[in-house]
Amino acid sequence: MTRPIGKDVLNILIFAALLIWLMPMMISTYTLTVLVIYGMLGLSLGLIWGFGGILCFGQAAFFGLGAYTYAIAAINIGESTIPMILAVLVPAAFAALLGAVMFYGRLTDVYLGVITLVVTLILFKFVNSTAGPQYVIGKARLGGYNGIPGFQTLNVPGDPNAYIWGDPYFYVCTVALVIVFLLVTWLLQSSFGRIAIGIRENETRMSLMGYDVAARKTVLFAIGAAIAGLAGALFANWGEIVTPGLFSLGQSAEIIIWCIVGGLGTRFGPFLGAVGLAYLKFMLGQQSMIDNTLITGLILVLFVLFLPRGVVPAIASLWKLSFGRAGRWPQRSNRRRARHG
């Protein structure tokens, strides 16, 4: 709301600096990189769902589209700068088109969910069936279920031989995440963001006040897709291969679970949910006693039953209880922080 944005930015920067410094001491940067990427992906859905009220069952579609766009463009161009830009623009344009059809068609939430789900499924099926040699874009073969390996990975802009990998790649991803996070913060503080929250709360009223709700939802949807696309491109660089699995419904469902567990309507929630659950999945992947999807499912059920608002809002309430009631806490005006991120 009207709280100073400068302090918020400072907090984010301090928090990010601490993480960049401390986390590599505990977890390998290779693993951390993918956690950061998932965090960005969680943030992308957290933005459009938590603040725009758009429940998208197909956020993985934009993630996969970003990854494939990067891979295909990188093979054709041989340098990573333009492919990175395309990996943001192509999912955004695709989402703008899809969003315009859905929002101007005045679809209700349920149909919106169904359509985004089906689009993801179509992309998954399509990419899966492109194994034949006739499926070629420029020099890049789509490769069907085998995916696309062996593309040019991230390099210093202008110098295709100076690859960015290992620790430096972790720092690149983290800085990208911090920039995206700051942009999202700025967006939510701006009139556009406040109006988006208004639309989440009451679409009819916002349109009766003269706002073009469909246009605004389309733009927000496209912004979410752009962030997911960037995460996809970073993921492609991290894995050095893209496969149809990126488009899978399992991936989409996971993103939704990250948001629910972390806390909708906050910026940190979906990010923390993504990082926490992805790390848990990674740990569980190292043993074979229990299937990790079972645990993810169990966590979702427990959260829906006992902590329906998610981790971050719960911590915020706890904080308020322990410090707010004492009456000595000086920042009473910040008590509603959780709701606005």
Partner: protein
Amino acid sequence: MAETVLETHGLTMRFGGVTASDNVNFKLKARELRCLIGPNGAGKSTFFKCVTGLLTPSEGQVFMRGQDVTGWQPHQITALGVGIKTQTPNVMDALSVHENIWLSARRFHSTVEARERAEAIIDRLALGSIARTELGQLAHGERQRVELGLVAVSDPWLVLLDEPAAGMSAQDVDQMTEIIHELTRTAAVVIVEHDMQFIRSIAETVTVFHQGAVLMEDHVDRVMSDQTVRSVYLGKKA
């Protein structure tokens, strides 16, 4: 002679075999206060929704300040300078009173000016003590008052109110009446209402709807004493 701000020609709305609005011709002058009354199912709300763009009429046209707005979206109609309040309070529950009103003011003004206008309206409607409270925690009467604030802050020249007094206490209704009178200084106001007492206290000209069509249109006193209107309301034969 005052300018005509709202006019409908042969406005008809059919839902399947039911004609909810039947060939309605309606005219409203600038700064006029008009009440639409009629028993349940008389077609008041359908007429209201056709005028506000929530429904597209099957036949006929709607003009606002001479412009044909038939089939326009609600956001296009409100962008002309029309304020609309729906039957049930349509407000942003998780946001504060101030944020709600600011959002409405922001549509046509800069960020800073919107804040000033929101604060002015909050003062005018005596909402100062609850300005930072979320709408979801307010009583029904207060929510209605905030919604009127949302409408008033955009400086409309035409205000359409669907049952503004529904479910309100006598004191709330008095306040509401005062606000509406203030609105008529700059805007024409159309009120769809059931509450006869409220109508008596506020109305001058009244349009009576019955079975989708306009039954009569006259001064409130003459309408109230009219035998046909009474029988329509009480369900008796004239």
